[in-house]
Point group: C2
Chain length 342, copies 2
């Protein structure tokens, strides 16, 4: 059987803020069969992940591209959940539910070495496995517990606290017994953090004129842990308000993604004297704790003391706007596009 | 017996570059005796340490002053070696050689809680115990081994490599089997690093126009460890040239000491993707390894494979210029002022 596989691609490398016209829908014929000994797999995509870091791979140049730069007009890889349509790999059979590195398209044709595993949804929506039980969750979990090594009662600040990772960092920190304040970009989000996610406090950074003073107000006794998703002035202000032996988990730099000139300039004298650690990290370095992370998080989800916050758009064609929306703060929680029903 | 104790103090807080006129010589009468049960000690100072970080304690405000700000017209504390003249503390007797927190003066009158211990010079000049076998040495040792956790063959960059700490970091790193490049501020120092201390390479940063390109030239395969004594552009350039899982030991910020506006702006996207760790640290947090550090370093000194580089000025009155000279790169190695003969 042969069909037309629609997928999203970029027309050219994107060096400013992403716009709808930077993307296009392409179509290719795809035979829904693989040679028996080829190891190839065809996956029908159900849900794909929409993540801010992907912008870096779309640029002409970025620090992150030593690994993976996206080629113009070629499929864009993204974590996703799907169903096996055809498999030359004996470990996978037709109709297996799988999670792994798929594409922003209707079908993923996986060849050579690929990242894919069979998925037991554990009673949750399959979409959870690219969000709270996938790399967003692992990023929050590893960043908070492994990088920051929190102690009960410590004061935690999370930026982009309504984002896919930030909301979970706050939830883990609350569960662990920390005092948690989040920053977000709207009144609605601030209310969401305080009322729905039970953050101790939250503020709309767009209403603040001097972030150092703001953080002093929310943390009169200083910050012990800063989970940084934005960089720039927020990082500078957090370092200025940090306690001795404070830790910064450097997870993302949204401020820099669309504007490479935007840099933070933390007071290095403070970093030295306060013995602050600033540690960049990526979830894939913490795969050794993946099963611990999944079982702990699934337990708390079942117990109802952690919530999965998803923001799902429908249909392949919604991908460009879903992605662009990340940079305008449109999403609350994990941004996902649902491509097809199971 | 009563005498006049001369000491150096500051006339006002120093917020720019230190000048000779910022300092003055004061004198006070001092009775060379203590009440038997007072716990007080009077030490005749032999050598005192001259360190760049002391400028921060002389400022109106600095991140480091949560601990100790220097009061105008009052004695200035500094590590030193001396001889006990009189002691109310049964642990110390007249003529004991001691090391600890003394003052920039001829005699130190220690009261209440003080930092002092009896010194076994181990066959070395007593001055070594405020340099290579004191906090300068511990800073280099702990910063390199504990903070950076080096592996043999790694590429190490040290700034202010002719300074009291930098020269030792390079020597430890060479002994450990790393590739070491240092930066310094003169041709003479560059030659010293390469010829006398056997650094693999060295450069004069004043002759370079673009530090990122410079470091690329000296580290075509990237930097694994950066021992940072300066901050600002050098830190930015080092981060730009750093390998995955690179480590920065943030030890000092000489670029910022005299010019608080000078800030580094490292590429945080690089920090995240390359999983770079930037760790501020101070030697006193590593007192648990002090005896290991001393025995290892003494062993290498006796074996002749580490050299103590000292730059000694003579007499109390030489202190202001010795201190000011630190900020003009006048010293090679540990800056010490010899106050008196044993």
């Amino acid at each position: 059987m042969e069909l037309t596989n629609n997928f999203i691609t970029i027309k050219a490398h994107i060096d400013g803020e992403p716009k709808e016209t930077d993307f296009e829908n392409k179509a290719r014929h795809l035979a829904l069969s693989v040679a028996p000994c080829s190891n190839d797999i065809i996956v029908k995509n159900l849900y794909v992940s929409i993540d801010p870091y992907q912008i870096n791979r779309m640029k002409s140049w970025s620090s992150s591209q030593k690994a993976t730069k996206i080629t113009v007009s070629i499929v864009i890889e993204a974590y996703g959940v799907g169903k096996v349509e055809a498999s030359g790999n004996p470990e996978f059979a037709k109709d297996d539910l799988v999670v792994g590195l798929l594409i922003w398209g209707e079908y993923s044709l996986l060849k050579g070495e690929y990242i894919l595993r069979k998925l037991d949804p554990m009673g949750f929506s399959p979409s959870y496995h690219i969000g709270i039980l996938g790399h967003s969750g692992l990023t929050a979990y590893a960043g908070f517990f492994e990088v920051c090594k929190p102690k009960k009662g410590e004061k935690v600040f999370v930026s982009t606290a309504c984002g896919s990772v930030g909301n979970l960092v706050g939830q883990y920190a609350k569960l662990f017994g920390c005092y948690v304040v989040g920053s977000a970009g709207s009144k609605e989000k601030v209310a969401f953090l305080k009322e729905k996610l039970r953050f101790d406090d939250a503020f709309n950074y767009k209403e603040e004129t001097d972030l150092k003073t703001t953080l002093k107000r929310f943390f009169p006794d200083g910050i012990d842990i800063y989970f940084d998703n934005v960089g720039a002035e927020m990082l500078e202000a957090a370092v200025a308000n940090m306690n001795f032996f404070g830790r910064v988990a450097a997870c993302g730099v949204t401020s820099q993604y669309n504007d490479a000139g935007k840099r933070c300039a933390p007071d290095m004298e403070g970093v030295v004297y306060k013995r602050i650690k600033i540690q960049g990290f990526i979830s894939i370095d913490h795969m050794d704790i993946f099963s611990d992370f999944v079982s702990t998080t699934a337990y708390h989800l079942h117990a109802g003391d952690i919530q999965a916050i998803e923001d799902i758009s429908l249909g392949l064609k919604s991908i460009p706007l879903a992605f662009i929306g990340l940079f305008h703060g449109h999403n609350i929680g994990k941004k996902i596009v649902k491509i097809a029903d199971e």
